[in-house]
């Protein structure tokens, strides 16, 4: 069963496309990692799935229906995303931000103050460990705390599919792990389908069910971490040579040096 199907998805000018007619599927309940070098088009792919960028060609099917033709609020009940950058000047409290995640579930005149909605807000705040910070204004938080607040808002949407764009960028290593464990819990316990763009390949191998490697706007490789982690994979896609080690069935990569790539 696939929940998202990309057909010939393209972005950019014909002479130099950022994303070049990619086809892939995302299966219900899986954790898919999208990896690739800088400028490969992986974030653009994710942003097209999230309706933030309009594709120049091809289409995305969500549960079999064209993403373009769906009601935006209905889509927002199924799919949410933690973006890479957020407006740092936004001056509202953490709880108010998280409450905004209920918007897709509310009618235009509803405020979301009913107990059923507040229950979800409480759950999202607790899931992101923000209990102590819930009444603090966002500008008073650290970058990592703010990132967690935005994640809590995305969780508050109670999506079936959660997209994350390099969520570890502003987090120290402990908070990175906390975040990955939280996402794993959502994935395992709630069956949330996860699509994550990430740079840390070893984290990708540890957590993702399947990887999609993107290079120059095309899908260069696709498979489980065990299938993909070969020395040629890192040399061809990232231009790095190194050693692969496997421990407890999870492969990891130790980079040694960059190698000159064929133009």
């Amino acid at each position: 069963m696939n929940v998202i199907l990309s057909r010939g998805l393209s972005y950019g000018y014909r002479s130099q496309p950022a994303v070049d007619a990619v086809d892939f599927e995302i299966r219900t309940g899986e954790w898919l990692g999208i990896v690739g070098p800088n400028g490969s088009g992986k974030s653009t792919v994710l942003r097209m799935l999230a309706r933030l960028v309009k594709p120049h060609g091809g289409s995305v099917l969500l549960d079999g229906a064209e993403l373009d033709s769906l009601n935006p609020k209905e889509t927002a009940r199924k799919l949410s995303m933690l973006a890479q950058n957020q407006d740092a000047s936004l001056d509202i409290t953490v709880r108010e931000l998280v409450r905004k995640g209920r918007h897709p579930h509310l009618k235009w005149f509803q405020d979301g103050s009913s107990s059923a909605h507040e229950d979800v807000v409480d759950w999202a705040i607790a899931a992101a460990s923000l209990q102590e910070l819930q009444h603090r204004p966002l500008p008073a938080l650290s970058g990592g705390e703010r990132q967690r607040a935005w994640l809590a808002m995305a969780l508050c949407q109670t999506p079936d599919i959660l997209l994350l764009d390099e969520p570890g960028t502003y987090l120290d290593i402990a908070h990175q792990l906390d975040l990955m464990e939280l996402v794993r819990k959502l994935n395992k316990e709630r069956g949330t389908t996860v699509v994550m763009v990430l740079h840390d390949l070893n984290q990708a191998a540890r957590y993702c069910d399947r990887l999609l490697a993107v290079k120059k706007g095309k899908i260069a490789a696709e498979g489980t971490p065990g299938e993909l982690f070969r020395e040629e994979f890192f040399r061809d896609i990232f231009g790095v040579s190194g050693r692969i080690r496997t421990e407890d069935g999870i492969p990891s990569f130790q980079p040694v040096r960059t190698v000159r790539q064929k133009a």
């Binding site: 935006p72 905004k100 607790a126 209990q131």
Partner: protein
């Protein structure tokens, strides 16, 4: 981390900001009441509060009645409505532009209304009765042009601001040209350009009231969309908000409010910029509280400033817009330097 709270406890733990918000809203409302009262009491002829009350409750044909009912009360009411419209418009615009420097001028309202009004005053002085209508239409037309110029599959805040700057300088040049070519008539234009409530009376109240009411009601309906747009375009889109539709509605509402204010009182600046900015420093960016505080605060500020403008410089009727800028700018700078203590 301290003791873990259960969800129920989480919700019940009161938001400490509520008390502060309530205090700020009460303080601004008290200020407005004080401003209105002083507007009735203070002037060339001092009328004690007791007498003001008695003429308000039992109208009698006395001199005090004439002054309070026919001169001061309509002027206070006009000032309140003008300030209320400008404060609300500014608050809406600072949110959709996510820019603290956005004010009703940025979308061409002032320059569009200004050019239309000056054209009437200088070129068609016989049609002076049409001035408010012309200023209102000019204000809305200019903001529509700004929006059209900024549109390219959507109107991003940056494109709107750039288009606004371009249209403002064009219309500003046209205003200057009109005035220089007709320099003998400039004297009559100046008070209007500075923003003035001189001689505003019941007909002005009657004309402005329905527009102000409609605009404020629309603004209140837009509180939720304004809060969502303030999250940023991407975040709002991810929540299923039709960003471009609501941005257009909010900008249109702000242009309507500011256009109504300008057509009545001339180019009163500063209120739409400073009042929402100060409100934001005090209470943050949640429109459920920011919009009412900006509306009431704008009304209080214009009413107070107008009372001061007509009494301090007696017998000269000083334009309220000039006083607002003279007093408001230093106060604003003081607040900025002091920073928000929250």
């Amino acid at each position: 981390m301290a003791a873990v709270m259960t969800p129920g406890e989480l919700r019940r733990s009161r938001n400490p900001a509520w008390a502060r918000n309530a205090a700020v809203l009460s303080a601004v409302s008290a200020l407005l009441a004080l401003a209105a009262l002083s507007g009735l009491v203070i002037g060339a002829i001092h009328i004690p509060i007791r007498e003001v009350w008695s003429v308000l409750l039992h109208p009698a044909d006395t001199e005090a009645y004439q002054i309070v009912w026919n001169l001061r009360l309509p002027r206070v009411l006009t000032g309140m409505m003008v300030g209320c419209c400008l404060g609300t418009a500014g608050a809406l615009l600072q949110g959709v532009f996510r820019n603290p420097l956005a004010d009703p001028g940025i979308i061409g309202v002032s320059s569009g209304g200004g050019l239309a009004a000056i054209a009437i005053m200088i070129l068609f002085p016989a049609q002076i009765a049409l001035l408010p209508a012309a200023a209102f239409v000019g204000a809305l037309a200019a903001s529509a042009v700004v929006y059209l110029l900024a549109w390219k599959g959507g109107a991003s805040p940056v494109r709107l601001i750039l288009a606004g700057v371009a249209v403002n300088s064009l219309l500003g040049a046209a205003m200057s040209a009109l005035m220089i070519l007709n320099s003998e008539k400039v004297q009559s234009v100046l008070p209007w350009m500075s923003g003035s409530l001189n001689g505003r009376s019941w007909p002005h109240v009657d004309t402005l009231f329905p527009y102000a009411l409609l605009g404020i009601a629309a603004a209140m309906m837009l509180i939720k969309p304004a809060n969502l747009l303030a999250l940023g375009d991407d975040a709002a889109k991810l929540l299923g908000v039709r960003v471009e539709v609501y941005r257009l509605l909010i900008v249109a509402c702000a242009a309507f409010l500011a256009g109504a204010a300008i057509s009545t009182a001339g180019m009163v600046g500063f209120v739409g910029l400073v009042v929402p900015h100060i409100a934001r420093l005090l209470i943050g960016g949640d429109y459920r509280i920011l919009l009412p505080v900006s509306a009431v605060g704008g009304a209080a500020l214009v009413t107070l400033a107008d009372t001061a403008a007509r009494s301090w410089f007696d017998p000269i009727e000083f334009p309220v817009g000039i006083l607002l800028a003279l007093l408001g700018a230093p106060f604003f700078l003081y607040l900025l330097r002091k920073g928000a203590k929250r």
